[in-house]
Subunit: 349 residues, 4 copies
């Protein structure tokens, strides 16, 4: 693998750096040859050295600063990562974008094209409907050309990343029915964020395996939006049931869909391998080999496996990613590399 | 709770006691007021004290003996638990049963009514087709009356127990379609037995979440057999995808099925609560509360929760058990209590 | 094992039942043949059914009530378990005891004989110094006769239980030096209580192994007090370093002490086995076999192993218990059984 | 951090690449800008593609070859990593070294200077006593100058790395007594290698915390050798008790030593920070902050914390590393960087 060497250093700000996605952004950007983290912000930890909060960064000089929008604008950064809760993200996105700072938002604020869905699932009116047509959905394997030209990226959610990457080739090639798709996903507990809440303390998660939000998870409209787009139809309705798994990182999605016609594993294999033939971060397994979170954690890879159930004429696809990397901060950096015309793998291998 | 007190002591043999199901049988029977373990067998550990293999039983005098069928017959035990691999179980079951010893088999040898399915999924001709009509499928909540009269019980598999208990009320009441049922289950690693094999060493399971055997798991024909019986139809075909979860014990099954008509959660609640109103070991959660393995491990309970997805007109049912207890040895003892006309909860609370 | 059958039902109140020790008390008492839980209290959960907080108790009718001391006194319970934070425990202990209710306190309020140590380690003046001479330290294997006659038991801490049981036989027989004892213990995360705090959320504990409070843990003066008593000397000073281990339950203490003279493993074996010959809940392993939390969790056993290091003329003793059972609620019930002249094993096997 | 850029590509062979250390070497070398893996060997997996054994390397073309010494010599590699069992390592080390190939051995064959200790702890005569004076003990923070000039490195064991780095500054500065040092370490299960053995299957490790080999661990003579060298005395005897912790990676060592005189935390802080002032991979925590495996896993850092116990006039030092990285393959690469005069951090950040 040849890596194009640039000596340029892009100036980066991380807004809202106190959660696990923020930590992962810092970890990855610290070893990126063409980035310089100019500041990290956190209201809660203002003035505190980063290693007080994340001891793994001892030796780094960074301190959290309080995020004043004015100061950020004056800082002349090239790009801001927004690792903020939804709602709050747009408060920063709008003025920064309008002042010429590139935005990569890993919150949910700009993922949905339909502001009614936003209201339905997030409970509030969409904070910036006018901006939506500037935003590109940051899934590089599907939208690389748009990302190249964009200054504002909405990074996909973690579950949607694993699911859309698994289904896009089948939908584009009309291999599966769009009715009756069932998605059963499991996520490590960092997926809940660095949230201090009873259901997430160790003894409540360890030796526990449980479904949650089986009909109304906030990633559901995002999944359905992208599946419909890939299938070139109006709407898709799926059953999406996420589970909490007693591990730190990783998502594995198991997807069951009906085949449009009796299809062969060989054909499916060909479709997947062609679709992703130039994609470094997608790993298609041989037929009947299934994905495993342990093969992707601490990496930006998505591992996809599948089996055909001839009895029910359906296909089972499994798709594993690291929720904090390909499912969040790693993908954010992949998007950044594309926006800056850098080698897409920089900082990610 | 009043417990009927009997002073009788039934004499019990455990054939094949060196695995996790054997360990659990010993643990539970040791505190059962009406049982006396006469012997435990293991070819591998012949002559070794039980606490060498399972230190938790230090203080107990039991030693493993080598399992000679003749000796077992002469031992005048009342009942033998068979905790053996499939195939081997029938070698013991046939002569013991023919010599008047009650049998509770926790292997897979006598679960399937159709010997062709046995051959298809287990690879060999069925070892004792003539005995099949003597055997009762040991799921007390569904077959208690037959169990009472039987001398030969085939205990259900762990996954089937969680799934059949979850679906029986819906199928009997024709609430759900029998087509298109999808079952996504996750099991703790003891579900693989005390097997010394690379995929089951700690670093290969920890921080790993993976599907396996997505189209051909050996519990599949057992699940489909019982679902068809409960639905009073000829055959049911389901997608059943088991997963390995990094925890010791517990199964949680997530089941998605289409509703026959627009149904209400209230009605579903009524159906479940009526169906299981006298069942001590079944715990129906309130609507939209889902089951969790941590609520049932080290117990014989099955916890069932459900949500209705009005968008897709389907129901999501989740069902959690301890795979070694309600999914294996605990249910075996529940069956024994019924066969001996003892209080069903003895040794299990 | 013959269990004496009593038909008497003692009336029990559990004050402060919303933590893990409270949950374990309820679990164990629910299957105790001679106990009836009259009420459970929690300020936080007043009016809420127990199964809302601990779903494992679905089917039980208990509701949390708010703990009014007057009401408790009028309830005519025979015994109150106090599962409260230190400081708060004495607020209940004093009036209840003075009104003739037996007390088993599993807080730290009455473990230390020296009120100066209490102040030093807990930060406040001792709340009830006058009561201290009524209180018996509830370690049955060492103080059974006093417990029998007592109406007020201070249950030992979890770490101290594992440590004192391991060292008492060696100290009484003057096998080890009292200088230079080093204790390195590891505990599962339930040892921190059901505390909702950042260091205890799953991703901060999983894949983490760390020492904490290496010089000032609150169990330290309790350990030193009892070691000195067993050694019949004024004071003992030890190094006690607890660790947090990514598991739910269990403590394993590794203790290193210098031998007073070249001693043999045979002699050590004899001393341990004699000292604990009548103790059902103590399990002495063969020389060079070490204890393991997995052999004792969900049980009231203490497993003790040891090796002699002839090079350094020291002994390594390891001692494992379930922190919530023998280290807390199980031992509390063992004490209750003794106080009520019941078989000591009732409810605990 | 400025990284010196070299365009040179060193040719590397990995002998014995089928275990976890081999996997980690491949992972790290794959992203090293100045290395090219020419081959990986494994008798067991000869001819098999690497991704069949380690799916995380899908996309890599490497296949395991059978390790013929002749072929290796003819391959003109610059350096061979030996990730073999002890005993077997020297069979390769001798001919390769004699043919001018640099050796970095991560087995135990060349760590001990005293061949009698080797025989005592490893059971066989030392396989190559003549080579011992060519070998440098590969702990860069202590022996960097020797490593620079050496062609044959014996990488330290994982436990010794964590322990020696923690104690060297104190021993060199005569802060602690060399008598009575107690070391209690805990390791994740990858420390046992990719070994398929009953004690290491998931259910035997999960929810388990246990000491093992408390007087005779094979790392013991290595630890004592280096502590004596650092203290400039003939011999040191310590108590070293390793524990198995239910996690994948990471070692945390807790060390208790007597202070030579009443010392202050400030002085200790100064000593540590001076000693390691130029060491990128050593992270000294503030007084009373202790190390945690989760801060170092997947990194080459060693995190060191300490507290002074004024009551016992002793110091507690804790030291955490990733057993597979700084404790094995990462340190091996750090050594390689030094030998090749590359920036020491290459491939490791």
């Amino acid at each position: 693998m040849e890596i194009k060497v640039s000596t340029e250093k892009f100036k980066i700000g991380i807004i809202g750096a106190s959660g696990y996605s923020g930590e992962e952004l810092i970890r990855l950007l610290s070893r990126h040859p063409n980035c310089e983290i100019k500041f990290i912000t956190s209201r809660k930890y203002e003035g505190i050295s980063i290693h007080e909060i994340f001891p793994r960064f001892a030796g780094t000089d960074l301190k959290f600063i309080s995020p004043s929008i004015d100061d950020i604008i004056k800082s002349h950064i090239d790009l801001a990562f927004l690792a903020l809760p939804h709602g709050l993200a747009s408060e920063f996105a709008i003025p920064l974008y309008n002042n010429g700072i590139k935005i990569i938002d890993i919150s949910a604020d700009f993922r949905l094209r339909d502001i009614n869905k936003y209201k339905q699932y997030y409970g509030n009116e969409h904070p910036a409907p006018d901006l939506l047509n500037k935003v590109v959905y940051g899934l590089p394997e599907l939208y690389r050309e748009e990302i190249k030209k964009s200054d504002f990226i909405a990074c996909p959610g973690c579950y949607p990343t694993s699911i859309i990457l698994a289904l896009a080739p089948l939908l584009k090639n009309r291999i599966i029915k769009t009715d009756g798709i069932v998605i059963s996903s499991g996520s490590g507990v960092t997926g809940a964020g660095r949230k201090v809440d009873l259901p997430y303390i160790f003894p409540e998660c360890n030796e526990s395996f449980r479904a949650y939000a089986p009909t109304e998870h906030r990633h559901l409209p995002e999944i359905e939006q992208e599946l419909a787009l890939n299938a070139s139809i109006e709407t898709v309705s799926v059953n999406f049931i996420p589970h909490l798994v007693p591990m730190n990182r990783g998502i594995n999605s198991t997807i069951i869909a009906s085949l449009n016609s009796m299809d062969t594993a060989d054909n499916i294999s060909k479709i997947y391998n062609q679709y992703y033939q130039n994609e470094y971060f997608i790993r298609i397994l041989n037929t009947n080999r299934l994905s495993d979170t342990k093969n992707v954690i601490m990496s930006n890879f998505c591992e996809i496996g599948y089996s055909i159930n001839y009895r029910t004429n359906s296909i089972i696809v499994t798709s594993a990613i690291d929720n904090l990397c390909k499912g969040s901060s790693g993908q954010a950096i992949q998007n950044m590399n594309i926006m800056f015309d850098l080698n897409e793998q920089l900082g990610l291998i």
